[in-house]
Structure formats: C-alpha cells, structure tokens
C-alpha cells in the first residue's frame, strides 16, 4: 500500500469496508476451543453414563481424567500468557469482555465442582453446571454476534431444566451430554466453518 496515493471515492469506501472487515475477522473465534472442550465433556458424560451401567471403573474416573487434562491445559495456558509467548498484537473491547467472562465462568465452574464433591448432590449439580454453560454461551454468542451460540444457550438451558426433573443419574448424564452437544459442539463446528470461510474471503478481498 502506498502512502499518499490518490484514491477515488469508491476506492475510499471499498478500502474502509475492507479494513473494517479485516479488523473484525481478528475478533472472530475459530471455534476450536469450543470443539475440543465440548467433545471432551461429551465423551466424559457418555463414558460416565456407560460406566454407571456397566461398572468398569470408579464412578468419577472419567470426570477426574477430564479434570486433570483441563488442569494441565490451564497451567500451560497460564505459563504462556504470563511469559508473553502468545501476546496479542491487537486488543479489542470484545476480546477483553470475553477474557473477563472466561475468568468468571471458570471460577463459577470450580465453585460448583467443589460443591458437587461435598454438599451438592450430582443429580442437582449437573443441571447447575448446564445452567452455567447456558449463561456463558449466551453472553459469548451475544458479544460475538453469533447466532448459533445464542441458540445453543437456550438448548443448554432446556437440557438443564430437563435434568432437574429426570429420575436417574444416567438420564442426568444424558441431558448433560446433549446440552454440551447443542451448546458447545455444534455451534463450535459452525464457528470453525464460518471462520475458515471468512478467512478465504479476506484473501480475495482486493482494494
């Protein structure tokens, strides 16, 4: 791009649109985190459900395994964050909101998980978790203006409400798995598809 190249009005408008499009693309999420986290939760739910029926290992084996994986992941993320290895070259208001939202979500998640290991019955604990997922997804989807996540939040809440009224632990795990499928996995894959498609469009967007 040249510094003082004269531009026509149409070129000016086209340039403005292109740069705003590029800047907004920086704020989009590729959905990979949602897909990984979603499939891990989904797998833990389904394997725990099967384990409850066939008694392979201890009842919380798959949740404990997931917890250890998540803990290792967050330790690595924290080290990379504080060492500046993945420092962002652009900061957005939306990005800062999402960052704070994530902190709030994981603190609340930890709160419920600690309660589930003590005073809170898992039959009520899982719907509480799903309720929290719905809140997180709704705010995230609204901030990113991405409708699949907004719809996913209501799917999660529907499953959370269903989880409050089912009678068996297996059914609670099933509602949890379905909430994760509708709230995380499907919107995550749609976000990933949209992200890759828009990235290709940026490449074709010429001045």
């Amino acid at each position: 791009m040249e510094n003082d190249k004269p531009i026509s009005g149409q070129e000016g408008l086209h340039l403005i649109q292109k740069m705003i499009f590029i800047a907004k693309q920086e704020q989009r999420n590729d959905g990979v985190g949602w897909i990984w986290w979603g499939w891990m939760l989904f797998g833990a739910s389904l394997f725990s459900l099967l384990n409850a029926r066939y008694n392979w290992v201890s009842p919380y084996f798959f949740w404990d395994t997931l917890g250890v994986i998540a803990l290792i992941y967050f330790i690595i993320r924290s080290i990379r964050y504080f060492s500046g290895a993945r420092r962002k070259v652009v900061r957005t208001y939306t990005g800062e909101l999402i960052h704070k939202l994530n902190i709030g979500f994981f603190v609340s998640l930890l709160f419920i998980m600690v309660a589930m290991n003590g005073v809170l019955n898992p039959m009520a604990g899982f719907p509480m978790l799903v309720n929290l997922y719905g809140f997180w997804i709704l705010v995230y989807g609204t901030a990113m203006n991405f409708r699949p996540f907004i719809i996913g939040a209501f799917v999660a809440w529907a499953m959370g409400i269903a989880g409050l009224f089912v009678k068996t632990y297996e059914a609670v795990l099933l509602t949890h798995a379905l909430a994760v499928l509708g709230g995380y996995i499907i919107p995550g894959h749609i976000a990933n598809y949209t992200f890759r498609k828009l990235n290709r469009e940026v490449g074709h967007f010429s001045v």
């Binding site: 791009m1 040249e2 009005g9 149409q10 000016g12 403005i16 208001y93």
Partner: protein
C-alpha cells in the same frame, strides 16, 4: 471534486490505518503493517501525521528489549472518520451502510 474531504484521511494508507483502529481498542505497529501491507517506513510517517492531527494516540515503549509501538484512535479521530464517511456519501450520492461498530454518540 474532493476538495472538502478531510485531507488527512483522504490518503490510502492513513485511511486504512484509521479504518483498522476504528474497529479495535488498540493495535500494535506490527499488526497495522501486516494488515495494510505497507513498509515500516511508510507506516511510521503516516502514523506520525495522524498523531499530529490528533486522530490517534501512539504509545512507544520497550518489551524484552524490543520497541513496542501501540496505536489507538482518539475521539477526535472517531468524529473525523464519521464525518469523512458522511462526506463520501454525499459526494457519491449513494446509500452507504458501513457498520463501524460505533453508536450515534460516537462511543464504541
């Protein structure tokens, strides 16, 4: 034809810089250079012109012994950009609908 358009913004690279900054809170020099596909020298000169006009704030610091330049648009820059888009609109006499993520009171 464009005699009334803001001469600071009516330049390809400066307009690109402001259009990028209007959509974010702040951006580093490397981000702007990559997205505008410009040279460091050109970009530096145009950033200084925008800074002198009061359209952007520039913070220069060091991180791990490397220079780190961060830019963000000012409220004067937001107003100038909005006016520029309106002026282009009236010159071209077309219905321009550019979503710049800014409310009518100028806040992002």
């Amino acid at each position: 034809m464009f005699k009334d358009l803001d001469p600071i913004l009516h330049s390809q690279l400066r307009l690109a810089i402001v259009s990028l900054l209007i959509s974010v809170k702040e951006a580093e020099f490397t981000f702007l250079r990559e997205k505008t596909n410009s040279t460091a020298g050109n970009l530096s000169v145009q950033i200084n012109k925008l800074k002198e006009a009061g359209y952007i704030d520039v913070v220069k610091q060091f991180k791990d012994n490397y220079p780190l330049t961060t830019c963000r648009i000012t409220s004067a820059g937001v107003q100038a950009f909005e006016q520029y888009v309106k002026d282009l609109h009236s010159y071209l006499n077309i219905d321009v609908n550019i979503d710049i993520g800014i409310s009518s009171d100028g806040k992002k």
